[in-house]
């Protein structure tokens, strides 16, 4: 449903994510897309890469816009105002945003839509910075990441704050389905999209999205990184279905997080002498979080 020929960079994770997202379902889909790389690069005038109806409104309101579409659809359907269609499957709604458009400026709009209970799926492609406007830090940027507004230099060694746990925030709305995913584990991701679209009510999936430009990684290594993120437990894969938590992937051997970090120039300064403590800190955070998730699954 995504046509080839979009203008996303070579190795962009988001291109793979939207393709897998639309491959996951037979339902007719309407997409609302927040401002960002995907929006810009899939809709370069006079072309579009979308073979589904697609709305770009603003940066902060993908969830609000889809709320309106979904509510209108439900109401028109109830009143019998909808024209007959060949495909009589119900229409499903997906809102799509980058981490800036979801964790930061769009959080209010997302939270409102989840709380009101609209029947839609929100997918965040999280590349850990505002990439479209020149790699500025977001509340999803990992600790230590070098970005243009958390520059690694004399004063600071990249971003000094931890990531916001958006998946937990979404889950705190007690919606039917919440998950994390990575296009490196595509069977897992596509299954989660199908499940999310079957859920009655709002669903949210946070997807790790490799960005060679912003991460300063090799484009041909994007899928490697999408897997390493998961295999190091930096980006654990899980789902929360009607409140029930389940890990959907457990690595046989949990790889050290430096395997993931060392392939990304945005963490290059962490490997300089004197910054060992930062690497140790990142590993410690990953271990703690993974431990918490293992505990949680036992319950």
């Amino acid at each position: 449903m995504v046509a080839p020929g979009h203008r996303l960079c070579t190795g962009c994770g988001a291109g793979v994510i939207i393709r897998q997202m639309l491959m996951s379902t037979d339902y007719p889909i309407v997409v609302s897309n927040a401002t960002g790389c995907v929006e810009v690069c899939t809709s370069v005038y006079p072309y579009t890469a979308w073979r589904v109806p697609w709305i770009h409104n603003g940066f902060e309101n993908a969830a609000a816009t889809i709320s309106g579409v979904e509510a209108a659809y439900k109401s028109m359907k109830r009143r019998g105002d909808l024209p007959a269609r060949k495909n009589d499957k119900p229409i499903k709604f997906i809102a799509l945003g980058g981490d800036g458009g979801t964790y930061d400026i769009g959080l209010q709009s997302l939270s409102g839509a989840l709380e009101r209970g609209h029947d839609f799926l929100y997918i965040c492609y999280d590349n850990g910075a505002y990439m479209n406007t020149g790699i500025q830090r977001s509340s999803a940027s990992p600790f230590g990441a070098n970005t243009t507004t958390s520059p690694a230099g004399v004063m600071i060694q990249g971003k000094q704050e931890e990531r916001k746990d958006l998946t937990a925030i979404a889950a705190a709305h007690n919606i039917p389905y919440v998950a994390t995913a990575s296009p490196g584990y595509y069977m897992d991701f596509t299954r989660k999209v199908s499940k999310a679209l079957e859920a009655k009510g709002p669903a949210f999936i946070n997807v790790l999205s490799v960005c060679p430009l912003g991460w300063k990684s090799e484009p041909e290594e994007s899928q490697v990184l999408a897997r390493l993120g998961v295999e190091t437990c930096f980006w654990p894969l899980f789902e929360i279905e009607n409140g029930k938590f389940r890990l959907t992937f457990r690595p046989n051997v949990k790889k050290p997080v430096v395997e993931y970090l060392k392939r990304q120039g945005r963490f290059g300064h962490l490997f300089k002498a004197g910054n060992e403590h930062m690497l140790a800190h990142i590993q410690q955070r990953v271990d703690e979080e993974w431990g918490r998730l293992l505990e949680r699954e036992k319950k």
């Binding site: 800036g100 243009t148 958390s150």
Partner: protein, 385 residues
């Protein structure tokens, strides 16, 4: 140096030590430079979660006693409007940069436009005072950035510094003045004891002194209409007196605030009114027309708001025609018309995202002089190029 980098550098020279912002093209380089440079001078750079928050943060920092800056463009400027009105109402000095791009909505993010000049005046709701400056070259950008901080401090009000994608992203030689050449104005602090301080006194002066937080003065800051102590009131006399004083801060000091450039108008048959990036096109067109023996001059407001109407009327009233050149559908032209009674006004407007080609101006002026553009008395001929 790029125009955006100039703003960042000049802001620091003007004493700005606080930046809160949110990335948006074509303004983001201002934030990037501030993120690098502010920590080195003991300042604070914060990237906020959106533009509403960015504007909120600079208001807070300014109340705390710091000179504060935020920068944005189109969609972000729209989101800042509510807090901008708050800063006018609560009389909080701060500087807001809008590097204009094509609109409305997401519009043309990477291309220049001048479509926000009226939004700069009336973007927030309600009657409110506003100062907006709009330079046309990068040395001037430096001076006007410093001036923006000075005016904000002097008049206890937000100042909007307008730029556009063209100025923001272009590079040219910039003469950076020595720090000793700059006049730096700081807000006036109260000289009375805390229990006698009236933060919004309407009786004694237009701009009451401002007490910073943390200095022993406690007062009430609110966006509600308030009396001289800062506490909310619905008393009709007090409400009217406060709003009139707010407006007078700018209108009664307009002579101090307004700056403009007049170039070659004394002998001009034809006058051109242009500002910002469009004034650069106008200058090039004027040079070409003058070389061909046609006497053309430029009136260029540097202070856009308050609008230097009297100066404009005086400078161009002898011309055969006044051409208004702007990269919008015709915004300042209406302001020009309010003052100019007897000179035909011709608008040259372009909203394609491309700068106005000097040739387009040359052609229109020539056509007018050759009588090909027929103008009914006092009509506005809008040429779309």
């Amino acid at each position: 140096m790029s125009g955006n980098a100039v703003i960042a550098e000049a802001a620091i020279a003007a004493g700005c030590r606080f930046y809160a912002g949110y990335p948006i093209t074509p303004s983001s380089e201002i934030a990037a430079v501030m993120a690098e440079e502010l920590p080195k001078v003991g300042g604070v750079f914060i990237q906020m979660e959106d533009e509403i928050a960015s504007m909120g943060a600079i208001i807070g920092a300014s109340l705390g006693g710091m000179k504060a800056l935020t920068a944005t463009s189109g969609p972000g400027f729209s989101l800042k409007q509510e807090n901008l009105g708050f800063a006018c109402m609560a009389e909080v000095p701060c500087v807001v940069v809008n590097v204009m791009r094509g609109g409305p909505s997401t519009g043309l993010p990477t291309l220049p436009a001048q479509g926000d000049v009226m939004q700069a005046r009336w973007g927030t709701h309600g009657d409110h005072p506003i100062i907006a400056l709009y330079p046309a070259d990068l040395t001037e950008m430096y001076w006007q950035t410093v001036r923006a901080f000075n005016l904000a401090e002097k008049y206890r009000t937000p100042v909007i510094l307008l730029s556009d994608e063209l100025l923001g992203h272009m590079s040219e030689r910039v003469e950076i003045p020595d720090a000793s050449e700059l006049t730096i104005i700081d807000r006036r602090k109260p000289d009375v004891a805390p229990d006698q301080y009236l933060p919004y006194d309407v009786k004694t002066e237009l701009v009451p002194p401002m007490a910073n937080f943390f200095e022993g003065y406690r007062y009430h800051v609110t966006g509600l209409t308030h009396d001289e102590t800062g506490f909310p009131t619905e008393d009709p006399d007090l409400a009217e007196a406060q709003l009139r004083r707010l407006m007078l801060k700018v209108s009664a000091n307009a002579d101090d605030i307004m700056e403009w450039e007049e170039d070659g108008l004394a002998d001009a048959e034809v006058a051109i009114f242009a500002y910002g990036a469009a004034a650069r096109s106008a200058r090039a067109a004027i040079a070409e027309l003058r070389a061909a023996g046609i006497k053309v001059g430029l009136f260029r407001p540097i202070t856009i708001w308050p609008f230097p109407e009297a100066a404009l009327v005086k400078a161009v009233s002898h011309a055969k025609a006044l051409f208004v050149v702007e990269m919008n559908m015709g915004q300042m032209i209406r302001e020009v018309e309010r003052g100019i009674r007897d000179v035909p006004i011709v608008g040259i407007h372009k909203v394609s995202g491309q700068p106005i080609d000097p040739e387009e101006i040359v052609l229109t002026v020539r056509e007018f002089l050759e009588g090909k553009v027929t103008l009914p008395q006092k009509a506005v001929y809008q040429m779309s190029v």
